[in-house]
Amino acid sequence: MNSLIKLELTRALRNRKFLFFSVIYPSVLFLLIAGTADATTEIDGTGLTLPTYMMVSMASFGALTAVLMGNSERIAKERESGWVRQLRLTTLPGRGYVLAKTAGAAVVSLPSIVVVFTVAALVKDVRLDAWQWVALTGVIWAGSLVFAALGVAIGYLASGDAVRPITMITYFGLSILGGLWMPTTTFPGWLQDIARWVPTHAYAALGQAIEQSQAPHVKDIAVLAVFFALFTGGAAWLYRKDTLKA
């Protein structure tokens, strides 16, 4: 299984276009949003400045891009081309393929998080304690697994031409509703009520709690845990269905 993981990592790092998209793009977006902002105004009810707040949003967004965009489309494509069938004729256990795909995504999501942090610290003078930087990196990286599972599920759910639009709608829906592009406090009340239950909102909230030197809210952890179970269960179910159909 290790050899497939190694090969998936090699391939992920070799794909310049995708690397640029998921590693550089969130930082560029961060600069666009936070660039003109006054570094001292705080976002309502958070006690965080806009750059600090958006840094976590964009790091989460970058990780989401890396784990969701790459895998769903590739899995759907490889299911169709028959590569998945070919792998079933090897000693590789069934979960090996999915694990390798997830590892390939994780290796891209880590730099995308780190690059946003670096840009925020250097350009927008975001200052945090050492433990906060470490905790933020760990939490955002680990939390991206929830969306990696979603990417796998979409890859097994959709096929052919459908996979890209489904991925895009999911991706933008999660980004906007979860408040990754703009704080949900700017939303109308009814939309805020919805946004509170979106997994990306809980995901970014974990990071923001760390920035506020608080323990993460139990509700956010619970929301993420429920979605993780849902996505993993869905992916496993779709995977088994696909295996029987082959």
Partner: protein
């Protein structure tokens, strides 16, 4: 005498897709060292048979055994190497990287360089998989199927997309595999290919096993020819039906169409009747029609 489990054992295996019975009560046994062609027209159930054999599909009825175990167990044991017709490849990696992966996954692998050379892809080892021609991709698939010391090699229409030269080279490599004592099973819809390579031919039609024998036996069975000619005046069918080696006859208007297992003798006897056939044509049957001929013969035998 030692009792070893057969390489492949199908017992009354059926698989249907909705109304279509792709494989219908198939029973067959393959023994170690055989080179077997699975011959049939498109839609005969060849690919489904191979999918069932490799455990990619589950049978509706009956049992499939490989080396006395389940297909999955045999694969995990590294006893089977397979090349699928729709075997997509991982793209954006090089040929060598992909072959290395196959070697790493096999319990008894060969050296990567050795596998590349044998499959004839050593020169394109550094090329990206998605930049290959159809024939090159086919050879890479073959490399993946022969990455380790497997006892059974399964190939689904392996020469699709290959030109004549590559095709010949491919079968030469295949024979080497068989000479090393491996069991080789390949699906094809070319009778010539089965004839040139296999020492046993299984003819599949509509999911059922029509014939099982040497290539020569199958060729004799499928060797029927079609004779057609026109006659003037009223045609009396009775003497025509008595023609030697005739298997079927069809008269419409002035035209007579006959199938014969020995066209020379049939035509000779036709003149012997004192008839003057015009527009005489003698032609071989295509494989598709040969299958129909064999089916008709089988059904006649049963009734």
């Amino acid at each position: 005498m030692t009792t070893t489990a057969p390489v492949v054992a199908f017992d009354q295996v059926s698989k249907a897709y909705g109304e279509v019975r792709a494989v219908d009560g198939l029973t067959l046994t393959l023994h170690p060292g055989e080179t077997v062609a699975l011959l049939g027209p498109n839609g005969a159930g060849k690919s489904t048979t191979l999918d069932l054999l490799l455990g990619l599909k589950a049978a509706d009825n009956g049992s499939v055994g490989l080396f006395g175990a389940t297909p999955r167990e045999a694969i995990v044991g590294g006893r089977v190497g397979a090349m699928l017709q729709t075997g997509g490849l991982m793209d954006e990696v090089t040929v060598a990287e992909l072959v290395r992966l196959a070697c790493d996954l096999h319990p008894r692998p060969y050296r990567v360089s050795e596998v590349l050379a044998r499959a004839g892809v050593a020169q394109i080892a550094d090329r990206k998989v998605n930049k290959l021609s159809g024939g090159q991709a086919q050879r890479v698939r073959f490399a993946l199927a022969t990455a380790g010391d497997s006892d059974l090699i399964v190939l689904d229409e392996p020469t699709t997309g290959m030109d004549v030269t590559t095709r010949q080279a491919f079968w030469a490599t295949m024979r080497e595999q068989a000479d090393q004592g491996r069991t080789v099973l390949f699906a094809t819809h070319y009778l010539e290919e089965a004839d040139a390579v296999a020492d046993r031919v299984l003819v599949l039609h509509r999911g059922r096993l029509l014939a099982d024998g040497t290539a020569a036996e199958i060729k004799a069975k499928a060797g029927a020819r079609r004779v057609s000619f026109d006659l003037e005046g009223t045609i009396d069918e009775t003497p025509l039906r008595e023609l030697p080696f005739l298997t079927t006859i069809d008269v419409s208007g002035q035209t007579v169409r006959i199938q014969s297992s020995d066209a020379d003798a049939t035509v000779h006897a036709l003149y012997g009747l004192g008839l003057y056939p015009r527009n005489l044509e003698v032609a071989g049957l295509g494989l598709e029609q040969a299958f129909v001929a064999i089916t008709a013969a089988e059904e006649a035998k049963q009734s």
